[in-house]
Symmetry: C2
Subunit: 270 residues, 2 copies
Protein backbone atom coordinates (compact mmCIF):
# COMPACT_ATOMS: atom_id res chain seq x y z
CA UNK A 1 0.00 0.00 0.00
CA UNK A 2 1.16 3.53 -0.78
CA UNK A 3 -0.04 6.61 1.11
CA UNK A 4 0.88 9.82 -0.72
CA UNK A 5 3.42 7.83 -2.68
CA UNK A 6 5.20 6.21 0.27
CA UNK A 7 4.84 2.69 1.65
CA UNK A 8 2.55 2.92 4.70
CA UNK A 9 -0.22 1.01 6.43
CA UNK A 10 -1.85 3.87 8.33
CA UNK A 11 -3.34 7.32 7.80
CA UNK A 12 -3.78 10.17 10.29
CA UNK A 13 -6.96 9.77 12.34
CA UNK A 14 -7.75 13.40 11.42
CA UNK A 15 -8.28 12.42 7.77
CA UNK A 16 -11.60 13.76 6.48
CA UNK A 17 -12.21 10.53 4.60
CA UNK A 18 -12.43 8.75 7.93
CA UNK A 19 -14.37 11.44 9.76
CA UNK A 20 -16.86 12.54 7.10
CA UNK A 21 -16.68 10.21 4.11
CA UNK A 22 -15.09 13.15 2.30
CA UNK A 23 -13.38 11.48 -0.63
CA UNK A 24 -13.59 9.38 -3.79
CA UNK A 25 -12.32 6.02 -4.94
CA UNK A 26 -11.64 3.91 -8.01
CA UNK A 27 -11.38 0.14 -8.20
CA UNK A 28 -9.40 -1.04 -11.20
CA UNK A 29 -8.59 -4.37 -12.82
CA UNK A 30 -4.94 -5.32 -13.11
CA UNK A 31 -4.43 -7.75 -16.03
CA UNK A 32 -1.04 -9.00 -17.19
CA UNK A 33 0.73 -6.18 -15.38
CA UNK A 34 -1.42 -3.45 -16.90
CA UNK A 35 -4.35 -1.53 -15.42
CA UNK A 36 -7.37 -1.95 -17.68
CA UNK A 37 -9.22 1.23 -18.71
CA UNK A 38 -6.83 3.37 -16.69
CA UNK A 39 -7.43 6.51 -18.73
CA UNK A 40 -11.18 6.20 -18.17
CA UNK A 41 -10.67 5.69 -14.43
CA UNK A 42 -8.44 8.76 -14.11
CA UNK A 43 -10.79 10.81 -16.28
CA UNK A 44 -13.74 9.98 -14.01
CA UNK A 45 -11.66 10.74 -10.93
CA UNK A 46 -10.57 14.09 -12.33
CA UNK A 47 -14.15 15.09 -13.15
CA UNK A 48 -15.39 13.89 -9.76
CA UNK A 49 -12.73 15.97 -7.99
CA UNK A 50 -14.04 19.03 -9.81
CA UNK A 51 -17.58 18.27 -8.63
CA UNK A 52 -16.52 17.85 -4.98
CA UNK A 53 -13.87 20.57 -4.97
CA UNK A 54 -11.25 17.95 -4.06
CA UNK A 55 -7.62 18.50 -5.08
CA UNK A 56 -6.66 16.17 -7.93
CA UNK A 57 -3.06 15.00 -7.51
CA UNK A 58 -2.43 14.92 -11.24
CA UNK A 59 -2.08 12.04 -13.67
CA UNK A 60 1.69 11.77 -13.24
CA UNK A 61 1.65 11.01 -9.50
CA UNK A 62 -1.24 8.59 -9.85
CA UNK A 63 0.40 6.77 -12.77
CA UNK A 64 3.61 6.50 -10.74
CA UNK A 65 1.82 5.05 -7.68
CA UNK A 66 -0.11 2.57 -9.79
CA UNK A 67 2.97 1.57 -11.77
CA UNK A 68 4.89 0.92 -8.58
CA UNK A 69 2.24 -1.44 -7.18
CA UNK A 70 1.42 -3.07 -10.50
CA UNK A 71 5.05 -3.74 -11.46
CA UNK A 72 5.88 -7.41 -11.64
CA UNK A 73 2.35 -8.57 -10.74
CA UNK A 74 1.85 -11.67 -12.87
CA UNK A 75 -1.55 -12.48 -11.38
CA UNK A 76 -4.65 -10.49 -12.15
CA UNK A 77 -5.61 -8.32 -9.18
CA UNK A 78 -7.70 -5.35 -8.08
CA UNK A 79 -6.13 -1.95 -7.49
CA UNK A 80 -7.91 0.44 -5.17
CA UNK A 81 -7.23 4.16 -5.32
CA UNK A 82 -8.74 6.43 -2.65
CA UNK A 83 -8.51 10.22 -2.72
CA UNK A 84 -9.59 12.09 0.40
CA UNK A 85 -9.61 15.80 1.18
CA UNK A 86 -6.81 15.12 3.68
CA UNK A 87 -6.63 16.28 7.27
CA UNK A 88 -9.23 18.75 8.37
CA UNK A 89 -9.85 18.91 12.08
CA UNK A 90 -13.36 19.01 13.44
CA UNK A 91 -16.29 20.36 11.46
CA UNK A 92 -17.91 19.55 8.12
CA UNK A 93 -16.67 22.65 6.28
CA UNK A 94 -13.67 21.78 4.11
CA UNK A 95 -10.47 23.69 4.85
CA UNK A 96 -9.84 26.53 2.40
CA UNK A 97 -6.59 24.91 1.28
CA UNK A 98 -7.14 21.17 1.47
CA UNK A 99 -3.98 19.15 0.86
CA UNK A 100 -5.72 15.94 -0.09
CA UNK A 101 -4.42 12.43 0.45
CA UNK A 102 -4.06 9.49 -1.92
CA UNK A 103 -4.03 5.83 -0.93
CA UNK A 104 -3.31 3.09 -3.46
CA UNK A 105 -3.56 -0.57 -2.52
CA UNK A 106 -3.40 -3.93 -4.26
CA UNK A 107 -5.89 -6.72 -3.53
CA UNK A 108 -6.54 -10.27 -4.65
CA UNK A 109 -9.48 -10.57 -7.02
CA UNK A 110 -12.74 -11.52 -5.34
CA UNK A 111 -13.93 -15.08 -6.16
CA UNK A 112 -15.52 -15.14 -9.63
CA UNK A 113 -18.62 -16.91 -8.35
CA UNK A 114 -20.99 -18.91 -10.55
CA UNK A 115 -21.44 -18.33 -14.29
CA UNK A 116 -24.97 -17.05 -13.83
CA UNK A 117 -26.02 -15.14 -10.77
CA UNK A 118 -29.04 -15.05 -8.50
CA UNK A 119 -29.99 -11.55 -7.43
CA UNK A 120 -32.50 -10.37 -4.87
CA UNK A 121 -34.01 -7.02 -4.06
CA UNK A 122 -32.42 -5.10 -1.16
CA UNK A 123 -34.69 -3.28 1.26
CA UNK A 124 -31.97 -0.66 1.80
CA UNK A 125 -32.75 2.14 -0.66
CA UNK A 126 -30.56 4.72 -2.36
CA UNK A 127 -31.33 8.29 -1.35
CA UNK A 128 -31.91 10.59 -4.33
CA UNK A 129 -29.34 13.37 -4.46
CA UNK A 130 -28.45 15.13 -7.69
CA UNK A 131 -25.34 16.69 -6.13
CA UNK A 132 -23.80 13.28 -5.43
CA UNK A 133 -25.42 11.13 -8.14
CA UNK A 134 -22.90 9.33 -10.34
CA UNK A 135 -19.93 9.91 -8.05
CA UNK A 136 -17.93 6.99 -6.68
CA UNK A 137 -17.50 8.70 -3.32
CA UNK A 138 -16.60 6.98 -0.04
CA UNK A 139 -19.81 7.89 1.87
CA UNK A 140 -21.10 4.41 1.09
CA UNK A 141 -23.11 3.32 4.09
CA UNK A 142 -26.13 2.55 1.89
CA UNK A 143 -24.07 0.00 -0.05
CA UNK A 144 -22.60 -1.45 3.14
CA UNK A 145 -26.06 -2.15 4.58
CA UNK A 146 -27.33 -3.51 1.27
CA UNK A 147 -24.28 -5.78 0.94
CA UNK A 148 -24.99 -7.11 4.42
CA UNK A 149 -28.51 -7.99 3.22
CA UNK A 150 -27.06 -9.81 0.20
CA UNK A 151 -24.74 -11.85 2.40
CA UNK A 152 -27.49 -12.68 4.89
CA UNK A 153 -29.87 -13.80 2.12
CA UNK A 154 -27.22 -15.85 0.32
CA UNK A 155 -27.76 -14.06 -3.00
CA UNK A 156 -24.89 -13.43 -5.41
CA UNK A 157 -25.86 -9.76 -5.64
CA UNK A 158 -28.70 -7.42 -4.71
CA UNK A 159 -30.59 -4.80 -6.71
CA UNK A 160 -31.02 -1.40 -5.12
CA UNK A 161 -33.99 0.89 -5.69
CA UNK A 162 -34.06 4.60 -5.10
CA UNK A 163 -36.50 6.25 -2.75
CA UNK A 164 -39.03 6.42 -5.60
CA UNK A 165 -38.96 2.70 -6.46
CA UNK A 166 -36.72 2.90 -9.54
CA UNK A 167 -34.07 0.22 -10.06
CA UNK A 168 -30.72 2.06 -10.02
CA UNK A 169 -27.90 -0.45 -9.67
CA UNK A 170 -26.69 -3.46 -7.70
CA UNK A 171 -24.57 -3.07 -4.55
CA UNK A 172 -21.25 -3.35 -6.43
CA UNK A 173 -22.27 -3.48 -10.09
CA UNK A 174 -24.16 -1.38 -12.58
CA UNK A 175 -27.12 -3.08 -14.22
CA UNK A 176 -28.15 -3.49 -17.85
CA UNK A 177 -31.39 -5.03 -19.02
CA UNK A 178 -32.79 -6.29 -22.30
CA UNK A 179 -36.19 -4.89 -23.24
CA UNK A 180 -37.78 -4.96 -26.71
CA UNK A 181 -34.49 -6.27 -28.06
CA UNK A 182 -32.45 -3.30 -26.78
CA UNK A 183 -29.74 -3.30 -24.10
CA UNK A 184 -30.62 -0.47 -21.70
CA UNK A 185 -29.44 0.85 -18.34
CA UNK A 186 -31.09 3.10 -15.75
CA UNK A 187 -30.20 6.81 -15.83
CA UNK A 188 -28.08 7.92 -12.87
CA UNK A 189 -29.14 11.54 -12.61
CA UNK A 190 -30.47 11.17 -9.04
CA UNK A 191 -28.60 8.20 -7.55
CA UNK A 192 -26.04 5.53 -8.32
CA UNK A 193 -22.42 5.24 -9.36
CA UNK A 194 -21.62 6.00 -13.00
CA UNK A 195 -19.25 3.09 -13.54
CA UNK A 196 -16.35 3.09 -15.96
CA UNK A 197 -17.43 -0.31 -17.31
CA UNK A 198 -21.02 0.93 -17.57
CA UNK A 199 -19.86 3.74 -19.83
CA UNK A 200 -17.86 1.33 -22.00
CA UNK A 201 -20.89 -0.96 -22.30
CA UNK A 202 -23.10 1.97 -23.28
CA UNK A 203 -20.67 3.05 -26.00
CA UNK A 204 -20.17 -0.51 -27.24
CA UNK A 205 -23.88 -1.35 -27.39
CA UNK A 206 -24.49 1.92 -29.20
CA UNK A 207 -21.69 1.28 -31.72
CA UNK A 208 -23.00 -2.25 -32.33
CA UNK A 209 -26.52 -0.91 -32.86
CA UNK A 210 -27.96 -3.08 -30.07
CA UNK A 211 -28.79 -0.45 -27.48
CA UNK A 212 -26.94 1.67 -24.97
CA UNK A 213 -29.93 3.83 -24.12
CA UNK A 214 -30.64 5.04 -20.59
CA UNK A 215 -34.16 4.04 -19.62
CA UNK A 216 -35.82 4.17 -16.21
CA UNK A 217 -36.77 0.75 -14.86
CA UNK A 218 -39.42 0.61 -12.19
CA UNK A 219 -39.36 -2.17 -9.64
CA UNK A 220 -42.70 -3.50 -10.96
CA UNK A 221 -41.27 -3.65 -14.50
CA UNK A 222 -38.62 -6.23 -13.54
CA UNK A 223 -40.97 -9.04 -14.62
CA UNK A 224 -41.16 -7.56 -18.14
CA UNK A 225 -37.48 -7.53 -19.02
CA UNK A 226 -35.96 -10.33 -21.12
CA UNK A 227 -32.49 -10.44 -19.57
CA UNK A 228 -30.46 -8.74 -16.87
CA UNK A 229 -26.74 -8.42 -16.46
CA UNK A 230 -24.32 -6.74 -14.14
CA UNK A 231 -20.98 -5.09 -14.80
CA UNK A 232 -18.07 -3.44 -13.10
CA UNK A 233 -14.47 -2.69 -13.97
CA UNK A 234 -13.02 -5.58 -11.98
CA UNK A 235 -15.43 -8.41 -12.85
CA UNK A 236 -16.47 -7.29 -16.32
CA UNK A 237 -19.90 -8.74 -17.19
CA UNK A 238 -22.08 -11.06 -15.12
CA UNK A 239 -25.17 -12.84 -16.37
CA UNK A 240 -28.19 -12.98 -14.06
CA UNK A 241 -30.39 -16.06 -14.39
CA UNK A 242 -32.67 -15.44 -11.46
CA UNK A 243 -34.29 -12.39 -9.84
CA UNK A 244 -35.93 -13.60 -6.69
CA UNK A 245 -38.09 -16.50 -7.90
CA UNK A 246 -38.12 -15.47 -11.57
CA UNK A 247 -35.87 -17.34 -14.02
CA UNK A 248 -34.25 -15.39 -16.83
CA UNK A 249 -33.05 -16.72 -20.21
CA UNK A 250 -29.46 -17.41 -21.22
CA UNK A 251 -28.99 -13.97 -22.74
CA UNK A 252 -27.53 -14.32 -26.24
CA UNK A 253 -27.37 -10.53 -26.33
CA UNK A 254 -24.82 -10.65 -23.51
CA UNK A 255 -22.41 -12.91 -25.42
CA UNK A 256 -22.79 -10.70 -28.48
CA UNK A 257 -22.02 -7.66 -26.35
CA UNK A 258 -19.05 -9.35 -24.71
CA UNK A 259 -17.45 -10.01 -28.10
CA UNK A 260 -17.93 -6.34 -28.95
CA UNK A 261 -16.26 -5.27 -25.71
CA UNK A 262 -13.28 -7.53 -26.38
CA UNK A 263 -12.94 -6.02 -29.86
CA UNK A 264 -12.93 -2.58 -28.25
CA UNK A 265 -9.96 -3.48 -26.07
CA UNK A 266 -11.47 -5.11 -23.00
CA UNK A 267 -9.19 -8.09 -23.55
CA UNK A 268 -9.49 -9.45 -20.02
CA UNK A 269 -13.14 -10.30 -20.69
CA UNK A 270 -12.27 -12.92 -23.30
CA UNK B 1 -6.37 11.32 20.95
CA UNK B 2 -7.06 7.73 21.91
CA UNK B 3 -7.48 4.90 19.37
CA UNK B 4 -8.95 1.79 20.98
CA UNK B 5 -7.94 3.21 24.34
CA UNK B 6 -4.30 3.93 23.52
CA UNK B 7 -2.65 7.24 22.63
CA UNK B 8 -2.28 7.32 18.84
CA UNK B 9 -2.52 9.71 15.94
CA UNK B 10 -3.18 7.23 13.14
CA UNK B 11 -5.52 4.42 12.16
CA UNK B 12 -4.97 1.54 9.71
CA UNK B 13 -5.69 2.58 6.14
CA UNK B 14 -7.86 -0.57 5.90
CA UNK B 15 -10.39 0.92 8.35
CA UNK B 16 -13.92 0.69 6.96
CA UNK B 17 -14.70 4.14 8.29
CA UNK B 18 -12.14 5.55 5.89
CA UNK B 19 -13.02 3.32 2.95
CA UNK B 20 -16.82 3.24 3.13
CA UNK B 21 -18.04 5.75 5.72
CA UNK B 22 -18.96 2.69 7.79
CA UNK B 23 -19.25 4.15 11.27
CA UNK B 24 -20.93 6.54 13.70
CA UNK B 25 -19.87 9.53 15.75
CA UNK B 26 -20.85 11.68 18.70
CA UNK B 27 -19.77 15.23 19.44
CA UNK B 28 -20.05 16.13 23.10
CA UNK B 29 -19.64 19.26 25.20
CA UNK B 30 -17.04 19.20 27.94
CA UNK B 31 -17.97 21.68 30.71
CA UNK B 32 -16.02 22.07 33.95
CA UNK B 33 -14.38 18.69 33.49
CA UNK B 34 -17.64 16.83 32.87
CA UNK B 35 -19.21 15.67 29.63
CA UNK B 36 -22.70 17.13 29.32
CA UNK B 37 -25.53 14.72 28.51
CA UNK B 38 -23.13 11.80 28.37
CA UNK B 39 -25.78 9.19 29.14
CA UNK B 40 -27.93 10.46 26.29
CA UNK B 41 -24.94 10.40 23.91
CA UNK B 42 -24.04 6.83 24.82
CA UNK B 43 -27.68 5.74 24.64
CA UNK B 44 -27.98 7.12 21.09
CA UNK B 45 -24.70 5.48 20.11
CA UNK B 46 -25.80 2.13 21.52
CA UNK B 47 -29.11 2.25 19.63
CA UNK B 48 -27.39 3.38 16.42
CA UNK B 49 -24.93 0.47 16.67
CA UNK B 50 -27.90 -1.89 16.80
CA UNK B 51 -29.36 -0.31 13.66
CA UNK B 52 -26.09 -0.61 11.71
CA UNK B 53 -24.99 -3.93 13.17
CA UNK B 54 -21.83 -2.26 14.52
CA UNK B 55 -20.17 -3.69 17.64
CA UNK B 56 -20.75 -1.41 20.63
CA UNK B 57 -17.63 -1.32 22.83
CA UNK B 58 -19.67 -1.04 26.03
CA UNK B 59 -20.22 1.88 28.37
CA UNK B 60 -17.24 1.06 30.60
CA UNK B 61 -14.58 1.39 27.87
CA UNK B 62 -16.14 4.55 26.47
CA UNK B 63 -16.44 6.14 29.91
CA UNK B 64 -12.78 5.28 30.59
CA UNK B 65 -11.60 6.84 27.28
CA UNK B 66 -13.66 9.96 27.82
CA UNK B 67 -12.56 10.28 31.44
CA UNK B 68 -8.92 10.03 30.43
CA UNK B 69 -9.18 12.86 27.90
CA UNK B 70 -11.50 15.03 29.99
CA UNK B 71 -9.46 14.73 33.18
CA UNK B 72 -7.97 18.04 34.26
CA UNK B 73 -9.50 20.02 31.38
CA UNK B 74 -10.41 23.35 32.97
CA UNK B 75 -11.56 24.90 29.70
CA UNK B 76 -14.79 23.94 27.98
CA UNK B 77 -14.07 21.81 24.92
CA UNK B 78 -15.60 19.45 22.38
CA UNK B 79 -15.06 15.69 22.62
CA UNK B 80 -15.41 13.66 19.46
CA UNK B 81 -16.07 9.93 19.61
CA UNK B 82 -15.97 7.89 16.40
CA UNK B 83 -16.91 4.21 16.18
CA UNK B 84 -16.11 2.38 12.97
CA UNK B 85 -16.63 -1.23 11.97
CA UNK B 86 -12.84 -1.61 12.07
CA UNK B 87 -10.64 -3.17 9.41
CA UNK B 88 -12.39 -4.94 6.61
CA UNK B 89 -10.41 -5.34 3.43
CA UNK B 90 -11.96 -4.61 0.08
CA UNK B 91 -15.69 -4.84 -0.56
CA UNK B 92 -18.81 -3.28 0.91
CA UNK B 93 -20.01 -6.38 2.76
CA UNK B 94 -19.16 -6.13 6.46
CA UNK B 95 -16.97 -8.94 7.82
CA UNK B 96 -18.95 -11.55 9.74
CA UNK B 97 -17.00 -10.80 12.91
CA UNK B 98 -16.23 -7.09 12.82
CA UNK B 99 -13.87 -5.97 15.58
CA UNK B 100 -14.82 -2.31 15.47
CA UNK B 101 -12.58 0.63 16.33
CA UNK B 102 -13.10 3.60 18.64
CA UNK B 103 -11.40 6.97 18.32
CA UNK B 104 -11.82 9.66 20.96
CA UNK B 105 -10.35 13.13 20.51
CA UNK B 106 -10.47 16.48 22.26
CA UNK B 107 -10.95 19.75 20.35
CA UNK B 108 -11.16 23.43 21.15
CA UNK B 109 -14.70 24.79 20.99
CA UNK B 110 -15.58 26.43 17.68
CA UNK B 111 -15.96 30.24 17.89
CA UNK B 112 -19.35 31.11 19.41
CA UNK B 113 -20.17 33.52 16.59
CA UNK B 114 -22.72 36.33 16.85
CA UNK B 115 -25.68 36.31 19.25
CA UNK B 116 -28.17 36.01 16.43
CA UNK B 117 -27.40 34.15 13.26
CA UNK B 118 -28.01 34.64 9.58
CA UNK B 119 -28.92 31.45 7.76
CA UNK B 120 -29.30 30.75 4.06
CA UNK B 121 -30.73 27.88 2.09
CA UNK B 122 -28.24 25.30 0.79
CA UNK B 123 -28.70 23.93 -2.70
CA UNK B 124 -27.19 20.60 -1.57
CA UNK B 125 -30.14 18.42 -0.58
CA UNK B 126 -30.47 15.54 1.85
CA UNK B 127 -31.32 12.23 0.22
CA UNK B 128 -34.32 10.51 1.79
CA UNK B 129 -33.41 7.17 3.28
CA UNK B 130 -35.42 5.59 6.06
CA UNK B 131 -32.66 3.06 6.81
CA UNK B 132 -30.18 5.81 7.69
CA UNK B 133 -32.51 8.61 8.85
CA UNK B 134 -31.73 9.88 12.34
CA UNK B 135 -28.30 8.24 12.57
CA UNK B 136 -25.19 10.34 13.20
CA UNK B 137 -23.11 8.22 10.82
CA UNK B 138 -19.85 9.25 9.19
CA UNK B 139 -21.06 9.07 5.53
CA UNK B 140 -21.50 12.82 5.64
CA UNK B 141 -20.61 14.10 2.19
CA UNK B 142 -23.95 15.91 1.90
CA UNK B 143 -23.11 17.99 4.98
CA UNK B 144 -19.57 18.62 3.75
CA UNK B 145 -20.82 20.09 0.47
CA UNK B 146 -23.54 22.09 2.21
CA UNK B 147 -21.00 23.46 4.74
CA UNK B 148 -18.80 24.55 1.83
CA UNK B 149 -21.81 26.49 0.47
CA UNK B 150 -22.31 28.14 3.87
CA UNK B 151 -18.68 29.23 4.01
CA UNK B 152 -18.70 30.51 0.43
CA UNK B 153 -21.87 32.53 1.02
CA UNK B 154 -20.67 33.97 4.33
CA UNK B 155 -23.74 32.75 6.24
CA UNK B 156 -23.53 31.61 9.86
CA UNK B 157 -25.38 28.40 8.98
CA UNK B 158 -27.36 26.85 6.16
CA UNK B 159 -30.73 25.10 6.09
CA UNK B 160 -30.92 21.80 4.27
CA UNK B 161 -33.99 20.51 2.45
CA UNK B 162 -34.67 16.93 1.57
CA UNK B 163 -35.28 15.77 -1.98
CA UNK B 164 -38.97 16.62 -1.57
CA UNK B 165 -38.47 20.25 -0.47
CA UNK B 166 -39.02 19.77 3.27
CA UNK B 167 -36.78 21.64 5.71
CA UNK B 168 -34.93 18.95 7.71
CA UNK B 169 -32.04 20.53 9.59
CA UNK B 170 -29.06 22.84 9.27
CA UNK B 171 -25.60 21.55 8.32
CA UNK B 172 -24.46 21.10 11.94
CA UNK B 173 -27.58 21.89 13.99
CA UNK B 174 -31.13 20.68 14.33
CA UNK B 175 -33.80 23.31 13.76
CA UNK B 176 -36.82 24.38 15.80
CA UNK B 177 -39.43 26.89 14.67
CA UNK B 178 -42.23 28.83 16.30
CA UNK B 179 -45.60 28.56 14.60
CA UNK B 180 -48.98 29.44 16.12
CA UNK B 181 -47.23 29.92 19.46
CA UNK B 182 -45.77 26.37 19.53
CA UNK B 183 -42.13 25.33 19.35
CA UNK B 184 -41.92 22.62 16.69
CA UNK B 185 -39.24 20.67 14.84
CA UNK B 186 -39.28 18.68 11.58
CA UNK B 187 -39.75 14.90 11.83
CA UNK B 188 -36.61 12.95 10.91
CA UNK B 189 -38.19 9.74 9.66
CA UNK B 190 -36.64 10.08 6.17
CA UNK B 191 -33.53 12.22 6.62
CA UNK B 192 -31.51 14.16 9.17
CA UNK B 193 -29.60 13.55 12.39
CA UNK B 194 -31.69 12.98 15.53
CA UNK B 195 -29.60 15.18 17.83
CA UNK B 196 -29.19 14.63 21.55
CA UNK B 197 -29.91 18.33 22.20
CA UNK B 198 -32.91 18.16 19.86
CA UNK B 199 -34.39 15.39 22.00
CA UNK B 200 -33.78 17.39 25.19
CA UNK B 201 -35.45 20.45 23.66
CA UNK B 202 -38.45 18.36 22.57
CA UNK B 203 -38.86 16.95 26.08
CA UNK B 204 -38.37 20.34 27.73
CA UNK B 205 -40.81 22.20 25.47
CA UNK B 206 -43.33 19.45 26.05
CA UNK B 207 -42.88 19.54 29.83
CA UNK B 208 -43.23 23.34 29.78
CA UNK B 209 -46.39 23.10 27.70
CA UNK B 210 -44.93 25.27 24.94
CA UNK B 211 -44.52 22.71 22.17
CA UNK B 212 -42.14 19.90 21.31
CA UNK B 213 -44.25 18.59 18.45
CA UNK B 214 -42.75 17.24 15.25
CA UNK B 215 -44.26 19.07 12.30
CA UNK B 216 -43.19 19.02 8.66
CA UNK B 217 -41.99 22.41 7.40
CA UNK B 218 -42.01 22.98 3.68
CA UNK B 219 -39.51 25.33 2.13
CA UNK B 220 -42.32 27.70 1.04
CA UNK B 221 -43.65 27.82 4.62
CA UNK B 222 -40.46 29.44 5.96
CA UNK B 223 -42.04 32.89 5.51
CA UNK B 224 -44.92 31.92 7.80
CA UNK B 225 -42.95 30.97 10.91
CA UNK B 226 -42.50 33.44 13.78
CA UNK B 227 -39.04 32.41 14.96
CA UNK B 228 -36.32 29.94 14.13
CA UNK B 229 -33.55 28.55 16.26
CA UNK B 230 -30.78 26.03 15.97
CA UNK B 231 -29.38 23.60 18.49
CA UNK B 232 -26.67 21.03 18.99
CA UNK B 233 -24.97 19.41 21.96
CA UNK B 234 -21.84 21.56 21.75
CA UNK B 235 -23.31 25.01 21.10
CA UNK B 236 -26.65 24.61 22.87
CA UNK B 237 -29.20 27.03 21.38
CA UNK B 238 -28.70 29.65 18.64
CA UNK B 239 -31.19 32.32 17.72
CA UNK B 240 -31.69 33.04 14.01
CA UNK B 241 -32.58 36.63 13.13
CA UNK B 242 -32.39 36.36 9.37
CA UNK B 243 -33.27 33.72 6.79
CA UNK B 244 -31.98 34.99 3.48
CA UNK B 245 -33.47 38.48 3.26
CA UNK B 246 -36.22 37.91 5.84
CA UNK B 247 -35.78 39.35 9.35
CA UNK B 248 -37.07 37.34 12.31
CA UNK B 249 -38.12 38.67 15.74
CA UNK B 250 -36.11 38.43 18.97
CA UNK B 251 -37.76 35.18 20.03
CA UNK B 252 -38.98 35.47 23.63
CA UNK B 253 -39.97 31.83 23.37
CA UNK B 254 -36.32 30.92 23.00
CA UNK B 255 -35.27 32.61 26.25
CA UNK B 256 -38.17 30.95 28.02
CA UNK B 257 -37.08 27.58 26.63
CA UNK B 258 -33.45 28.19 27.59
CA UNK B 259 -34.42 28.75 31.21
CA UNK B 260 -36.34 25.48 31.13
CA UNK B 261 -33.31 23.64 29.73
CA UNK B 262 -31.06 25.04 32.46
CA UNK B 263 -33.56 23.89 35.07
CA UNK B 264 -33.45 20.43 33.52
CA UNK B 265 -29.69 20.24 34.00
CA UNK B 266 -28.23 21.86 30.88
CA UNK B 267 -26.17 24.14 33.13
CA UNK B 268 -23.67 25.14 30.48
CA UNK B 269 -26.43 27.03 28.64
CA UNK B 270 -26.83 29.57 31.44
Amino acid sequence: MLVDGLPAETVPAADRGLNYGDGLFETMRLHRGRVCLIERHLQRLRMSCVRLGLPYPGDALLHADIERLAHGQAEDAALRLVLTRGDGGRGYAPPAEAQGRRIVSLHALPPAGPDAWTVGLCTTRLGRNTTLAGLKHISRLEQVLAAAEVAAAGWDEGLMLDDGGLVIEATRHNVFFLRSGRICTPPLTHAGVAGVMRQLVIETADAMGIGGEEQPLRYDELHEIDALFLCNAVAGLRRVNRIGTRELGPGDALEHLRSGLVERGAAWLS
